[in-house]
């Protein structure tokens, strides 16, 4: 019963798709192709091979971008969050760059890193970086004050306090940032591939399908992107639960 309730949303969408595209034929097949045709096209051997290659390429860009941006952000966030002086001095810079949409910075990234993978990875890293950075800084700042007092009373050194209390105490907020950055970085991966262009990748293939008016594949790729994001989110939640075992 629980599974049925959970999958009811997607079943309604698929049902509406069948009603509008296959039964009522309200829109022409270029705007809304048949659900059956879309699924059949997706599961043909050639398409599956292409999708696998695209997923590997996009996945690689996303992975390196997300990971590098997040790791740098966590390290910097922990350092900035631990120092009032750094917090004050970096506030303007962080807020300034955070407000600049990464899509507006496409030309800068292209000039700096060229048309290849590096510029796309850098954009994904940039998008992940600020979300994780802000959350890490707040995770450190809004620590539980009683624990800090406890550490002082028992004579913890600054490093012991950081190692035993600050780091673990800020992890729940860091994970909020990582989860937000996960979906944003996926969006940037697709957008960067669509508009900067690349040999392969989900974004590039999606854009190609649009240019050639291949609606069946366009919708097929959208389904793939959605499923990928959903699965990554589930994987993330499982890892989060494992690491943040104490959070109830």
């Amino acid at each position: 019963m629980d599974r049925l309730i959970k999958s009811s949303g997607i079943l309604v969408i698929l049902l509406l798709w069948v009603i509008f595209a296959d039964l009522l034929k309200i829109a022409n097949s270029t705007i809304l192709p048949s659900l059956g045709d879309t699924i059949l096209a997706l599961f043909s051997l050639d398409t599956l091979k292409n999708i696998a290659t695209d997923l590997a390429q996009s996945g690689m860009r996303w992975f390196y971008g997300y990971l590098s941006g997040s790791i740098i952000a966590i390290i910097l966030g922990l350092v900035i969050g631990s120092s009032k002086l750094l917090q004050k001095s970096s506030l303007f810079v962080i807020e300034f760059f955070r407000c600049l949409p990464v899509t507006a910075l496409f030309p800068i990234f292209l000039l700096l890193f060229g048309m290849g993978n590096l510029s796309k990875i850098a954009m994904i890293a940039y998008a992940s970086f600020f979300i994780v950075l802000i959350n890490t800084i707040y995770g450190v700042i809004y620590q539980n004050k009683t624990r800090a007092k406890m550490a002082n009373i028992f004579g913890c050194s600054k490093y012991q306090k950081f190692q035993n209390i600050t780091f673990f105490g800020s992890l729940p907020q860091i994970f909020i940032g990582l989860r937000l950055a996960l979906s944003i970085s996926l969006i940037i991966t697709i957008v960067a591939e669509m508009f900067i262009g690349s040999d392969m990748g989900i974004g590039q293939s999606l854009y190609n399908s649009f240019l050639t008016l291949n609606s069946v594949m366009l919708y097929g790729y959208l389904i793939i992107v959605g499923i990928t994001g959903y699965l990554l989110n589930i994987l993330f939640l499982k890892i989060e639960k494992k690491i943040l075992y104490w959070v109830q």
Binding site: N144, T146, R147, K149, M150, N152, I153, F154, G155, C156, S157, Q160, N164, I165, F168, Y245, W246, V247, Q248
Partner: protein, 242 residues
């Protein structure tokens, strides 16, 4: 062992502590009893050098201080097991694991406390979690134990159990203890000396000797001696305006 003379403290030009003299001898259990905002916690923070007094003299011969927090859950580290939480003050002093384990075993034996030491803190009840903070404070073999409203979040039945346990442990270990508390019954039961503070700007209204032979909680608080002390204390408590 500990004395505070003519302590004064203001926050943002608002006088919280007007003039307080306070003393606690070795092995004595002293309670600071007063309304909210009268500066009890500030006084402890001054004693611990976490806050600077505006005036007065502080004498503190305690080298090792154990502290039990009012918000006990927040003072524990939920990513650690019960055992690691209790041993935390020792581990940060780089004491070997074997020595830590031996000290814990001895402490559990002397306090007659039974706790699931390998489990996570989140799996403990409120009473058990508060006992963990007490054990964490005791594991360092403190010269001074400070209890900041240790029972404030428990129901009456659990308060009695914890008060009896605390009485037993502090007397057995001959601990010098300072407690901040709001409940008169618990304070008289546990203490040798009771300091009644006035509302802010606070002064010591009365120091009451509460030292007499005490048995279990229920029998003690219904004894004539206890009721007489309560009467003296109540006569010196100024009611707070709403």
């Amino acid at each position: 062992m500990i004395s505070l003379e003519k302590i004064k403290k203001s926050f943002d030009n608002k006088k919280v502590i007007s003039n307080i003299d306070f003393a606690c001898e070795k092995g004595e259990f002293v309670t600071l009893f007063g309304p909210n905002g009268c500066g009890k916690s500030t006084l402890i923070n001054i004693l611990l050098d976490q806050t600077k007094a505006d005036g007065g003299k502080i004498t503190n011969h305690a080298q090792k201080i154990g502290y039990v927090f009012q918000n006990y859950r927040e003072s524990l580290l939920p990513w650690m097991s019960v055992k690691d939480n209790i041993l935390f003050p020792l581990k940060i002093k780089n004491i070997s694991l074997d020595e830590c384990e031996a000290k814990l075993k001895a402490l559990l034996k002397i306090t007659k406390l039974k706790l699931p030491t390998e489990t996570n803190i989140n799996n403990l009840s409120g009473g058990q979690a508060q006992l963990v903070t007490l054990l964490r404070a005791l594991i360092i073999e403190p010269d001074l134990l400070i209890l900041d409203e240790p029972f404030s979040s428990f129901d009456y039945n659990l308060k009695i159990t914890l008060a009896e346990k605390l009485y037993e442990i502090t007397r057995k270990l001959n601990l010098t203890t300072i407690m901040i508390n709001h409940s008169l019954d618990e304070s008289i039961y546990l203490s040798d000396k009771l300091y009644i503070l006035s509302p802010a700007p606070s002064i010591v209204k009365k120091v009451i000797d509460c030292k007499f032979t005490k048995s279990d909680y229920k029998a003690t608080i219904t004894s004539n001696k206890f009721l007489n002390i309560t009467k003296t204390a109540v006569q010196n408590i100024k009611t707070t305006e709403i």
